[in-house]
């Protein structure tokens, strides 16, 4: 299988300034040693609680944010070594779709301008050809071409998300980071957008990183799923396997906290105790240890290493390391 993206030991430490002279006093380890690949035509789900570093990972794979260290290979090319023209050449192939369809579109631009902007900036089309291309894109995402001259505020949340997707598709990307693209939408509209993303993956052989905290949506959409906790990927597996044989206690807790849609099935397992700790001051050893129901002594001091349980299924947990 061809790999579109390879991420190796990626880190992002944000400086924290404080004290009298506003010197750097500490660091937030927002992403701390993360590695994974995305295959051509694959959707990789990235799940985890708020603040665990999902958006930061996504933005670094697009080089919208400079990593502190680590490697990102896009179609085999070392993204972080690229400069100027080379970087500008590769950028169109990588796009992002945001969570908030309200704030991610310029309110003063028409739909035509929003979707067509990248095409005209890159000198790829203009005039009637540009108009045609925009119309084709609108059709592709299920927007009537009657809306060409309308402004974002005239659309519903689901329609705005379609505009955002059309904009991302304009330059024929290979890889798109979808950062919670359906979280702000109602279920019936969410289903429309999920179907759209799925058809794009199939028709255009697109690779997607799908960031979400809705495990049902990720299960439906992604071929493989990575679970993050406080800056680290703690488990990664084919989605079906992860749902059937989750190994990490945190993944198990996430899956069991997910409310079942069957009102006659109300035997709830004990939910996880405590809050997500701050990444400013992560617990020692395994970051999950203060909340882990299976914690053992070494968890408090030793950071667990990555263990391969079976082909393609990795977990970072001492329970599996003997």
């Amino acid at each position: 299988m061809k790999k579109v993206l390879q991420v190796q030991s990626l880190k992002k430490y944000f400086p924290i300034y404080g004290g009298l002279l506003s010197r750097e006093t500490s660091q937030v380890k927002a992403v701390d040693d993360v590695s994974f690949d995305i295959n051509e035509g694959e959707i990789l789900g990235l799940v985890g609680e708020s603040g665990c570093g999902k958006t930061t990972v996504g933005r670094m794979t697009l080089r919208l944010l400079e990593p502190t260290s680590g490697k990102v290979l896009f179609e085999g090319v070392d993204l972080l070594s690229l400069k100027g023209k080379e970087l500008a050449m590769i950028r169109p192939k990588m796009q992002i779709i945001f969570q908030d369809p309200y704030s991610s579109l310029n309110p003063r631009f028409t739909v035509e301008r929003i979707i067509g902007e990248a095409l005209s900036v890159h000198g790829l089309a203009q005039g009637s050809e540009l108009r045609k291309k925009v119309e084709t894109l609108m059709e592709k995402v299920g927007l009537s071409r009657m809306y060409l001259k309308r402004f974002p505020h005239e659309f519903s949340g689901g329609q705005r998300q379609r505009i955002g997707i059309a904009r991302a598709l304009a330059l024929n990307p290979k890889y798109i980071v979808c950062d919670e693209p359906v979280s702000a939408l109602d279920v019936s509209i969410q289903a429309q957008i999920i179907n759209l993303l799925q058809s794009l993956q199939k028709e255009d052989n697109l690779s997607l990183m799908f960031i979400s905290h809705d495990l049902n949506v990720v299960k439906h959409l992604s071929q493989r799923t990575a679970v993050m906790y406080l800056g680290k990927i703690v488990e990664l597996a084919p989605t079906e396997l992860l749902n059937r044989k989750a190994a990490h206690p945190y993944t198990q807790a996430l899956l069991s906290s997910k409310p079942s849609l069957d009102p006659t099935d109300r035997k709830r397992p004990i939910p996880l105790q405590g809050d997500v700790p701050s990444p400013l001051n992560p617990p020692s050893g395994c970051h999950f240890h203060p909340r882990c129901p299976k914690v053992v002594d070494r968890c408090k001091t030793e950071i667990p290493r990555q263990i391969e349980l079976e082909a393609g299924h990795t977990v970072n947990c001492h329970l599996y390391d003997d």
């Binding site: 279920v187 997910k258 409310p259 939910p271 809050d275």
Partner: protein
């Protein structure tokens, strides 16, 4: 059937907003009874009138532009819509507790959480500061706040989202309300925290026979925590039934559409969708407001609004749809 009288009895309530441009019909002729000790979930897509219904019951709708067009809201037999503002202040936070979606905006950033809980107590109860502080500490323990003795003297910004939501719950239950209105109480929280908070509310309900009006658009939460479910669409309740019946045998095409559009456990290729979007409440279609999106639309649907009526042989399962009954709405 319910042997007791309803605790809250919303009768034919309509709440509109008269804005400069148009009339926003947010809540239209809503009838809803909440009995002691039950959790009733109010579900529906955003903008369908869930929050305005809840705000109406608390008399917190901004007026103007808001206006109660008609109806009554009986709480323990007394019409809240006729109550004076002074009477409402006695009821709010005391007999009716409330939790809102955004804990960050609902807590005052310049007071400690202890001060805020103590104020909530002293507003309604004749207690010394010392006694109130003791009670505040007790209620913080009750909501499973970690290290409550330290947290009580901290400011909201020093707490995580989950802890802030626990403070909100502590404030809303400290006066032992008989009704708790919870508007999307866990939407801003992560799943593992969400489960903790909802289990906590469920325990309180069982312990004190409190009733809960739970507003959410998460159908998993509805399935797990509600006793009855009211489905709203464009300002009207379109289906009302026990939680078991809503999930096992939904009748209204909108309810069916909502349930079908959820990702299932079986891996399916495409999800079912409801085409189109919710109409703006200032420009409602004639007849059944769902008709432009409904696959089962008939000619009468475009003419007259269907009334909320019991299904044949199911007095407790009501639907507002021409497929099932021939009685128009009021």
């Amino acid at each position: 059937m319910h042997s007791q009288d309803p605790l809250l009895d919303i009768q034919n309530l309509s709440t509109f907003f008269h804005t400069e441009e148009n009339i926003v019909r947010s809540v239209r002729n809503v009838d809803l009874k909440i009995y002691p000790g039950e959790t009733i979930a109010l579900v529906g897509e955003s903008g369908c009138g869930k929050s305005v219904t809840a705000l109406s019951a608390m008399r917190l709708v901004p007026m103007p532009p808001g206006n109660f067009e008609n109806g009554r809201i009986l709480f323990k037999g007394k019409d809240l819509l006729q109550a004076s503002e002074q009477e409402m202040q006695k009821i709010r936070g005391n007999e009716i507790g409330m939790i809102f979606q955004e804990p960050m905006t609902s807590l005052n950033p310049i007071f400690t959480i202890g001060d805020q809980i103590i104020e909530a107590i002293c507003l309604h109860q004749d207690k010394s500061h010392e006694e109130a502080r003791k009670l505040a500490l007790k209620v913080l323990k009750k909501v499973a706040m970690p290290s409550p003795e330290t947290r009580i003297d901290q400011y909201p910004h020093e707490l995580s989202g989950g802890m802030k939501q626990r403070v909100m719950i502590a404030m809303s239950i400290v006066c032992k309300p008989s009704l708790l209105i919870a508007d999307e109480p866990t939407t801003a929280l992560d799943v593992t925290i969400q489960a903790q908070i909802l289990d906590l509310l469920d325990e309180l309900k069982k312990e004190t026979q409190m009733s809960i009006l739970l507003i959410t658009h998460n159908l998993g939460i509805v399935a797990q925590y509600a006793d009855r479910v009211a489905v709203m669409y464009s300002g009207k309740i379109v289906e009302l039934a026990s939680v078991e019946n809503i999930f096992a045998s939904p009748s209204h095409p909108y309810t069916k559409g909502l349930l079908n559009s959820l990702p299932k456990d079986t891996i399916s290729e495409t999800l079912e969708t409801i085409p189109g979007a919710v109409p703006h409440p200032a420009f409602l279609p004639k007849g059944c407001a769902f008709h432009p999106r409904c696959a089962e639309k008939m000619s009468e649907c475009e003419q007259e609004i269907p009334g909320l009526q019991p299904l044949e042989n199911h007095a407790e399962h009501q639907t507002a749809c021409w497929l099932y009954n021939k009685t128009p709405a009021l």
